[in-house]
Symmetry: C2
Subunit: 237 residues, 2 copies
């Protein structure tokens, strides 16, 4: 390849990384608005999170078209090829995070119709951890930073632990008072959506590691969500 | 390109399609076992669905490696490139379907500890529609059949309608008797997982259409899941 072609190729790789980071920032903001919708009962923030979804989808499409063009015009090899293919996977994860954020926001609008007789502090704490991980993994995309990626990968288990606790608490509130059932059902799904956002951040961490290091993260993924096996029975039964 | 290279390239594309179809068949079977776990309360079938997950994940990895090798060794253009990139997207969707099936199976094991005071006929009907769509879309992958893909794309709305009905029913059962709360919570997530499996089948239908026709499916996606906005209140409140 001539110097000119090499240079324009490197610019394209940079542009691809910038696209990912921009999409990551959009999604971070969408998640923040959605969480504000739930925790602060801020329906205007929720509306912004819902309205942001088409722009995130359009960004995914743009990144995908860019990747297809790069694959068609260049013959990327080894690490470059891994990076390009990885960015396709990462846009899929980011787009899903955006979907989950929009769903959290929609449910927060329903929640705002109910006065809740219990605190949302556990959920707020879980949301903070998820936001921290998402921010760190978006930074890691921009820097191709495997240390940050590893940190995110290892930080998913505490989120899952909190999710399991919240899951049990919400079921208990439902058993205490049938008026809690509808809001707690939406809160169950909100907590689940946050847990899934955390999972997608972990996916992205794995993808970054693989793209940069050239080998998959070894060892079982630190997975602590046991809520699928949860049994809570009403008192006295 | 010489005839020999063209031939081996065509063989690779065929092999890629065969990999997708094989992975699709594995996932279809996994979904069937998981549904049998719920509807027939068959814990052995549920165990098979859970045990099948690592093989599906391995298959995704194999398909991905195959795609990266093809991209590195060939210079695919136009429809071939679209088909190769599309297959990456489809393996991601198939792998997610497998995850949802495993989660349904896990929850069915918990459910088997409860005697239910209500029928699962709505859920069984929803499961049938989801399985039909999944089967049709896997066939469409093998044949590159845009008609079948369109049919799947149009058949998602009835699944969403059923899901909304089931969602309301389950909340009502919870309000009637607190002993229903734990099993109904798992059933809510099982129904949601089935709805998501239907969504991923629809994603695959869109991807097939784009890969073959070269243009995205126009018009809004027929989307009827309104459960995020559902409000059910206890009688007399």
């Amino acid at each position: 390849m001539t110097d000119h072609i090499v240079k324009s190729y490197e610019n394209e790789l940079k542009r691809l990384r910038a696209l990912m980071t921009e999409m990551g920032g959009m999604v971070e903001n969408q998640v923040e608005q959605a969480i504000q919708g739930v925790v602060q009962r801020d329906t205007a923030a929720a509306a912004r999170a819902i309205d942001a979804d088409p722009a995130v989808d359009a960004m995914e499409h743009e990144a995908e078209q860019f990747v297809i063009r790069m694959l068609a015009l260049r013959q990327p090899m080894a690490q470059d090829l891994r990076q390009i293919v990885s960015s396709l996977k990462m846009t899929t994860d980011l787009e899903r995070i955006g979907d989950y954020a929009a769903n959290v926001a929609k449910r927060s609008v329903v929640l705002s119709q109910f006065s809740l007789s219990f605190p949302l502090s556990g959920l707020a704490q879980m949301a903070r951890l998820v936001q921290e991980n998402l921010k760190m993994v978006v930074d890691a995309i921009g820097d191709g930073d495997t240390d940050k990626a590893l940190l995110v990968w290892r930080s998913d288990a505490p989120i899952d632990d909190l999710y399991n606790t919240i899951f049990r608490e919400l079921i208990t509130y439902m058993m205490e008072d049938p008026r809690n059932i509808t809001p707690c059902t939406h809160l169950l799904f909100i907590a689940k959506n946050l847990e899934r956002i955390g999972d997608h951040a972990t996916n992205i961490a794995e993808t970054i590691y693989y793209a940069v290091a050239g080998e998959p993260l070894t060892g079982a993924r630190p997975k602590a969500d046991s809520s699928s096996f949860t049994v809570v029975r009403p008192a006295g039964i």
